[in-house]
Amino acid sequence: MNKSRFLTAAGVVAIAAISLTACAGGAGGDADAAPADSGEVTWWGWTPDTPVAERYIAAFNEEYPDITVTYRNFENVDFRNTIVPALESGKGPDVFDLSAAGGTPDLWGPYAIDLAPLAEDTLGDDWESKFGGGYAEQLRTTDGTQVSLPLGGMSAGFVWYNQGIFDEAGAAVPTDYDSWVDACQKIEAIGKTCFTMGAGGEDTFPTEMYHAIANSVDPDFFLAAATGKAKWDDPEGVEVLQIIEDMKDDGIISSNALDAGQYPLANEAFMKGEAAMVQMGFWYTQYSGSESCKSAMESAGVSEPQCFVQLPAEFPDVAGQGNGSVPFGEVDYGLAINADSKNIGAAKTFVTWMTMSEAGQQNVANAIDLLPALQGVAPDWSAISLVDEDVQQPAIEQLIADSTATTQSRQWQTTSSTLDAIVVAIQQVLDPTIDLSVEDIAAQLQQSSEASAVGVK
């Protein structure tokens, strides 16, 4: 073989080798490996933020100093687009976040080991009942494999308000539609925005307002429609859209609502102190902290942040039928162990500590951005510094109690198509240039939606 022919052959072989190596999947880990006290664990997730994760890991290392955990945070969509190719190619993390939304357990579950035996060994036969309501079930695949164990829960369907702005305007926190209109008039009179909302783009945040209003109209309607037992263009659905239209016409929803999504538009307006109210979920509780509020305000563009007292309140009973508006919630995310991981032993130790130990769950509770997954764990208020403890602590405790008691899921039983269709319907209602009746919009919503079979008995 002459030199050039040799070089050609070598080149082709090298490329083939590189291609094969790149395409090769993992060799497969030992799912039955016992939890180990040493090793290295990589953890990928879209949440928590890196500083929070580092706090979790530091606390874990106090108990397990010989396990090194490396966390990598992704933006939400980036995570979804990165994790599957990484797991498929065998280059994935040892531990990864896995949520209940959009059938994720079925999509990513095949890459994860069954964690039910680990939970049973750790918490006993009745391990499932040790977690918050439905959290474990929500992280199972349709064939019943427990592909992830819950780290914490999330709730939504309430509003946050700036106590200072309400005091300055002499307004009372609204409890129904009329008191909301009245409060907005007083707040607008002092040059502030009453209720900031970002419904532009494809974010599904607006669906939470729809859900909250629906709960005021009929607490059973939203999940019934989401699972195909009711229709979005039933009278209740039309009434929800009519209320949203009224809120726009009566100045509750600001005219710039479609300029952008909830993030950054509404978050920045509230954090800058320009708006009196915003609808956000339980994760917003963390900004009640005397330090975390500063970083949140700085992120919103405030140069010298002076924290204000922000408080949660029940979503006003806008339908006026005495239903109130109960919050809704579900598991936020859990931790899964990559079936191809070479470090399953150490990963099991980490996941066990994070999700099933009181020490790990106490960390989650004290971060006050999630509801701890393990029942009986509550925030240690002596370790948490709030802006105004006398006012905020009881309000947050009430919020935790209401959130824990909820029986309504947030997005677990709503398909992605339906969430998108609700967003479009709200945009059509809020868009002054769209000439469609709320009945027509509700009919389009029904046509574009797709009923969910998840959790339907």
């Binding site: 959009g102 999509l107 990513w108 300029d259 240039t433």
Partner: protein
């Protein structure tokens, strides 16, 4: 081992001496001599690009969420879904409108600035830099500025208020009737500079004697521009048409960063539709692939059509010129 590989042939001496008798014979290589050197690039391009295209076509016939989720064959259902989806037709309409407007503005603006700056203009170099800057700045960098300009409390509304036209202020990004216009204006803003670069370069290649001859024959500036300059830069115009078409079909970054295709899908494009299907929590890769294949077919078919039309026209002109000469 039998090898099809040719002997090394000196390209300067295509007829090699025979080993016996010195009779000259032609060596017909079965594989071009430099072929082996392009094998790595060929493998990578075929492997990564054309394989991906073929694979996209394959998975477009499945209901598949990616990874190890089950692949359910569904025939042409994804294509049927696309062609019966009103959002798809909104995206097609937006693509056509975007292409026509941006292409027209790019050609007119590019020719105007190129012609103007070929004259001796005071601070001409500065103008060139100003015109070209939008081409080189990344859309992600500029998107927040564009949002600031067009949002409800943004620059445009502030200007309208200040000149007494407060009645015209509106939510430019947050309305179905104006969101596409904002995307198109941002596209125009970035495209004029690219048109300018190409036209300016092409005009430099025009024989000055031809222009001079036109002037001797009494042609004014406009006559020279339309009768001499533009016909000579026609190839650039055709290239820009094809490039703009492909850009419009693939459009994603500016739209996603400014409107995310909304509100209510009013500024949706094929690129944003495909991304939405891939990035959603219940990813629909089969449908996204079907949209990608449709996009590819439209892009290739229309590019070929534009090329063929331009060749037909060129042939007609050549024929007409020949006929004129014969006469």
């Amino acid at each position: 081992m039998t090898s099809l590989a040719p002997r090394t042939v000196d390209p300067a001496r295509p007829y090699a001496q025979g080993e016996k008798g010195g009779r000259r014979r032609r060596v017909v290589p079965l594989i071009p001599g430099g072929f082996r050197w392009i094998i790595p690039a060929l493998v990578i391009s075929v492997g990564l690009i054309y394989y991906s295209i073929v694979y996209s076509g394959y998975i477009s016939f499945f209901d598949w969420r990616g990874g190890r989720s089950p692949m359910n064959p569904i025939g042409f259902d994804n294509y049927v879904e696309a062609f019966t989806d009103p959002v798809f037709w909104t995206a097609i309409r937006n693509t056509v409108v975007y292409f026509v407007v941006v292409f027209a503005v790019q050609v007119i603006g590019g020719v105007f600035f190129a012609a103007a700056l070929h004259s001796k203009v005071f601070l001409g170099s500065l103008y060139k830099v100003i015109i070209v800057i939008p081409v080189v700045v990344a859309p992600a960098t500029l998107a927040p500025a564009h949002i600031q300009v067009w949002q409800s409390n943004g620059t445009v509304n502030a200007i309208l208020e200040s000149i007494g036209l407060g009645a015209l202020t509106q939510s430019w990004i947050g309305q179905s009737t104006t969101s596409l216009m904002v995307v198109i204006l941002v596209g125009c803003w970035g495209s004029i500079g690219f048109g300018f670069i190409l036209y300016f370069g092409a005009m430099t290649q025009i024989d000055p004697e031809m222009i001079e001859a036109g002037r001797v024959d009494g042609a004014g500036n406009l006559r020279i521009l339309f009768s001499l300059v533009l016909p000579n830069v026609k190839a650039i115009t055709i290239s820009l048409a094809i490039l703009n078409l492909i850009t419009a079909l693939k459009l994603f970054d500016n739209v996603w960063l400014i409107t995310q295709g909304g509100p209510a899908h009013s500024s949706e494009f094929l690129g944003t539709m495909i991304y939405s299907e891939i990035a959603a929590s219940d990813r629909n890769l089969g449908y996204a692939s079907a949209l990608s294949v449709i996009l590819l077919v439209i892009a290739v078919a229309t590019s070929i059509l534009i090329q063929l039309r331009s060749r037909e026209r060129r042939a007609k002109v050549t024929k007409a010129v020949k006929a004129g000469v014969d006469v």
